[in-house]
C-alpha cells in the first residue's frame, strides 16, 4: 500500500511535469528572430552602394570629387560630423573612435532616385508600392531596416524629401 502510494505520488509529479512536454519535434518556443530577413535600405550612386554605418573613407574615394563639404564639431567631445554635397545628394558622416561612419544620405533633387525607384516628385502611391503602406493622411512615412531608417516626406501627395538615417544605438 505504502509503496503504491509513493509510486503514485512520484508518477503524478513526473507526469504533471512531463505531460506538458509530450510529443517531440523541433524547437519552436523561441521565435526565430535572428538573421536578416529584411533587406537593409541602401542608397546607390552609380556603382557605389552607400549603406548606413558603413565606413566613409572608401565610399568617399569611390564617389569622387564632391561639390562642397562642411565640418561641424560637436559642442564638447572629440569628433566631427561631416557633410559632403554631391549635387543630387548629401552624404553625412559621424565619428566613432578613429573612423568616420555614414550617418545619413539626403536626396536633394530629382536627378537621383532610390534603388527602389523613388525620387523627389514621385507620387505617394508609388512610395506605397515600393516600400509598403503608411497612414492615410500622413505627411511622412518611415521604413526601418537593420541599420537604416528611411524617411520620406510628402506634400500634397508628392514626395518632397527622401532621407536615409543611420540607426545608431545611443
Amino acid at each position: 500500500m505504502r509503496r503504491k502510494f509513493i509510486a503514485a505520488v512520484a508518477l503524478v509529479m513526473v507526469l504533471t511535469i512531463a505531460l506538458c512536454s509530450c510529443g517531440s519535434g523541433s524547437n519552436s518556443v523561441t521565435p526565430n528572430n535572428s538573421g536578416s530577413n529584411t533587406k537593409d535600405y541602401v542608397f546607390k550612386s552609380g556603382s557605389t552602394t552607400i549603406s548606413m554605418k558603413a565606413e566613409a573613407a572608401p565610399l568617399l574615394k569611390a564617389l569622387g570629387a564632391y561639390k562642397n563639404s562642411y565640418e561641424a564639431p560637436s559642442c564638447a567631445f572629440d569628433g566631427m560630423d561631416k557633410i559632403y554635397s554631391y549635387g543630387g545628394f548629401d552624404l553625412m558622416t559621424y565619428a566613432q573612435k578613429d573612423k568616420d561612419l555614414v550617418s545619413g544620405v539626403v536626396l536633394r533633387d530629382d536627378t537621383v532616385e532610390t534603388p527602389e525607384g523613388i525620387a523627389i516628385g514621385s507620387k505617394a502611391e508609388d512610395v506605397k508600392k515600393a516600400y509598403g503602406n503608411f497612414e492615410k493622411d500622413a505627411t511622412s512615412a518611415t521604413y526601418t531596416s537593420e541599420n537604416c531608417k528611411l524617411l520620406i516626406i510628402f506634400e500634397n501627395g508628392v514626395v518632397t524629401s527622401i532621407q536615409y538615417i543611420a540607426l545608431v544605438e545611443k
Partner: protein, 524 residues
C-alpha cells in the same frame, strides 16, 4: 529586486539594523516582512502565486498533522489495542495523509506547469500539428521553481512522518519566502532550515563578518566576471551565421565560466546574506569543477536540486512496486546482469528528463538533460573497463591524471551546457562541429574577439579572475576560505576584503561605460 543593485544593498542595511535592534523574538517576523517586501519589489503582481503555494502547503501540512495526532491519541487511549488494529489504524492514517499530500502536489505543480510550460506545450503542438494556437505568455513569478520544489519537499516529508508539520502559517510562509534564497535557491529542507530560521539570533560579529565576506566574494564573481562576459556569450550565440568555428569554442568556454560565476556567485551572496541574519543555508556547490567525472560533478553542482530529485523522484520511482515488477520481469527475460540495470536506468532517465524540463521550458533543456543521462549511463557501463585500466596503467593514479580528468569533465560539461545558449537544438548540433573546421579561427585572433564588446583589458580581467577562482578553489579544499581568512591577523584579513571591494567597484561590469561609443553626437 536584483542582488546587484543599490536598492538591494539599502534594503539589506535597513533590515539588518532592525533585525538586531528589535527584541529577538520579533526577528523571524521581521524576516517574513522583509521577504514579502523583497518579493513585492521584484514582482508585486505575483505575490498571489507564492501566497497560494505557501498557504495551501501549510494547510495540507496541518491537516496531515491533525490526522496523525488523532491516530496517536486513539492508540494511546485504547490500552488493550491489538497489534492488527494498531497496524490498520496507522495504515489508514497514512493513506489519508498521502491523499492530502497528492492533492497539494497536484495543485502546486499544476500552477508551476501552467505558468512555466504552457507556451512550451503550445509551441510544440503548433510545430507538430502545424496548428497556430496563440501563445498565452504567462509571466513567471520570481523563483517559482525553487519555492514550489521546496514546499513540495516539505509536504512529502510531513506525510512520510519524517518530521512534524509547522502549525504557524506565518512561520511556514517565512520558510517558503525567505528572501535570500527566493531568486535562485538553494532548495532548502524544512528540518534543516527551520532550526536556524525561527530561532533567536544574537549579534555574532564573527558569523556576520564571515557572511559579509562570502557575499562580497559572490558580488565579485557576479559583477567582475559573469556580467562582463554577457556580451561575448549573447553576441556569439545570437549570430550563429557570423560566428562559427573558433568562436563556438570560445562560446563553450566563456559561457561555462559565466554560468559558474553567475550561479555560484549568486549562491555565495545568498548564503552570505542569510548568515548575516544568523541563518544557515545548505551549501549548493562543492567546487564542482574539481570533479573527476560527470557523476561526481552532479554531486557537487547544484547539490540541493540533485538531492531533491534523488529523494523525491529517483528513490520513490526506483523502489516502487511497479518498478520492482519491471525489475523481476527484466531479470527473467534479460538475465540477472542486464536485468538488474533496467530499473536503475529507467529511473535515471526519468530523473534527467525532469531535471532538463525543470531547468527551462524548451527542448534545449530536455535534450541537455538526456545527454547528461547518456554520459552518466555510459560511464557507469564502462566502469569495469576503467577498473582494469587503473590496474594496468600506473600513471592513472598520479596527480597529473586527476588534473586531466578534471579538465575532461570541465569540457564535457561545457559542451553539454552550450545547449542553453543557442536558439534551438538543431542549431546547436550544427554549430558545435564547426569547431573542428578552420572557419573563424584566424578572424577570431586577428581582432575578432575584440568586436564583441570586450576589450583586451576585459579578457585580462577575466583571465586573472579565473586564476583567482582556481586558487580559492584549491584553498577551499582544505577548509572553508572564510574560516581560513578569519584565522589570519587583522591587517591582512581586512586588506584582502578591502581590496576585493575596491576591485568590484572599479572593475565591476556595471553602469554606463565611459567610452567613446557613448559620445556619438547624433543630431539627425
Amino acid at each position: 529586486m536584483s542582488f546587484v543593485s543599490l536598492g538591494f544593498l539599502l534594503f539589506l542595511l535597513i533590515l539588518f539594523i532592525l533585525y538586531y535592534a528589535l527584541p529577538r523574538r520579533f526577528q523571524w517576523v521581521l524576516l517574513l516582512a522583509g521577504s514579502l517586501v523583497f518579493y513585492a519589489f521584484a514582482s508585486p503582481k505575483y505575490l498571489i502565486y507564492i501566497a497560494v503555494t505557501a498557504l495551501s502547503t501549510w494547510f495540507a501540512g496541518k491537516l496531515i498533522h491533525d490526522e496523525y495526532a488523532a491516530r496517536d491519541a486513539y492508540i494511546k487511549d485504547t490500552p488493550d489495542i491489538t497489534k492488527e488494529d494498531k497496524k490498520a489504524c496507522k495504515e489508514q492514517a497514512k493513506k489519508k495523509a498521502r491523499r492530502l499530500m497528492v492533492c497539494c502536489l497536484i495543485l502546486n505543480l499544476g500552477i508551476l506547469a501552467v505558468c512555466k510550460y504552457t507556451d512550451f506545450t503550445i509551441g510544440t503542438i503548433n510545430s507538430l500539428f502545424k496548428t497556430d494556437i496563440a501563445f498565452l505568455r504567462f509571466a513567471l513569478p520570481m523563483g517559482i521553481s525553487f519555492y514550489t520544489f521546496q514546499s513540495m519537499g516539505y509536504i512529502i516529508d510531513v506525510s512520510r512522518g519524517k518530521y512534524q508539520a509547522e502549525l504557524n502559517p506565518a512561520k511556514f510562509a517565512l520558510f517558503v519566502t525567505f528572501f535570500p534564497q527566493l531568486v535562485q535557491g538553494p532548495i532548502s529542507r524544512f528540518d534543516q532550515l527551520s532550526q536556524t530560521l525561527y530561532s533567536e539570533h544574537d549579534f555574532e560579529a564573527q558569523k556576520i563578518t564571515q557572511g559579509a565576506w562570502r557575499a562580497v566574494w559572490g558580488f565579485f564573481k557576479k559583477m567582475v566576471v559573469a556580467d562582463r562576459l554577457v556580451p561575448v556569450v549573447t553576441g556569439i550565440a545570437g549570430n550563429p551565421d557570423k560566428y562559427v568555428g573558433g568562436y563556438v569554442l570560445a562560446l563553450v568556454f566563456f559561457y561555462t565560466i559565466q554560468l559558474y560565476a553567475d550561479f555560484t556567485g549568486g549562491i555565495d551572496i545568498t548564503i552570505g546574506v542569510a548568515k548575516m541574519f544568523g541563518v544557515d543555508l545548505a551549501e549548493n556547490f562543492d567546487r564542482p569543477f574539481f570533479s573527476k567525472n560527470i557523476t561526481e560533478f552532479w554531486r557537487r553542482w547544484h547539490i540541493t536540486m540533485g538531492t531533491w530529485f534523488k529523494d523525491y523522484i529517483f528513490y520513490p520511482v526506483s523502489v516502487s512496486k511497479w518498478m520492482l515488477k519491471v525489475s523481476k520481469w527484466s531479470r527473467a527475460k534479460l538475465g540477472p546482469q542486464l536485468g538488474k540495470r533496467v530499473p536503475v536506468y529507467l529511473s535515471t532517465i526519468l530523473v534527467w528528463l525532469a531535471t532538463g524540463i525543470w531547468h527551462g521550458a524548451s527542448w534545449n533543456f530536455v535534450v541537455w538533460g538526456l545527454l547528461n543521462c547518456l554520459v552518466i549511463i555510459i560511464s557507469q557501463e564502462l566502469e569495469p573497463l576503467y577498473a582494469k585500466f587503473h590496474e594496468k596503467c600506473a600513471f592513472s593514479n598520479t596527480k597529473g591524471w586527476d588534473v586531466f580528468q578534471m579538465f575532461r569533465t570541465f569540457w564535457l560539461m561545457a559542451f553539454l551546457r552550450v545547449l542553453d545558449v543557442y536558439r534551438n537544438v538543431p542549431l546547436t548540433f550544427r554549430m558545435v562541429p564547426t569547431i573542428f573546421s578552420s572557419k573563424g579561427w584566424s578572424e577570431m585572433f586577428s581582432g575578432g574577439m575584440l568586436k564583441l564588446g570586450l576589450e583586451v583589458r576585459d579578457y585580462i580581467i577575466v583571465a586573472v579572475a579565473i586564476v583567482i577562482f582556481l586558487i580559492v578553489g584549491i584553498l577551499q579544499g582544505k577548509k572553508p576560505v572564510a574560516e581560513q581568512l578569519a584565522e589570519k591577523p587583522l591587517v591582512p584579513r581586512y586588506l584582502i576584503v578591502w581590496v576585493l571591494i575596491i576591485v568590484i567597484l572599479v572593475f565591476g561590469a556595471y553602469g554606463i561605460g565611459f567610452d567613446a561609443t557613448q559620445f556619438i553626437y547624433n543630431q539627425f
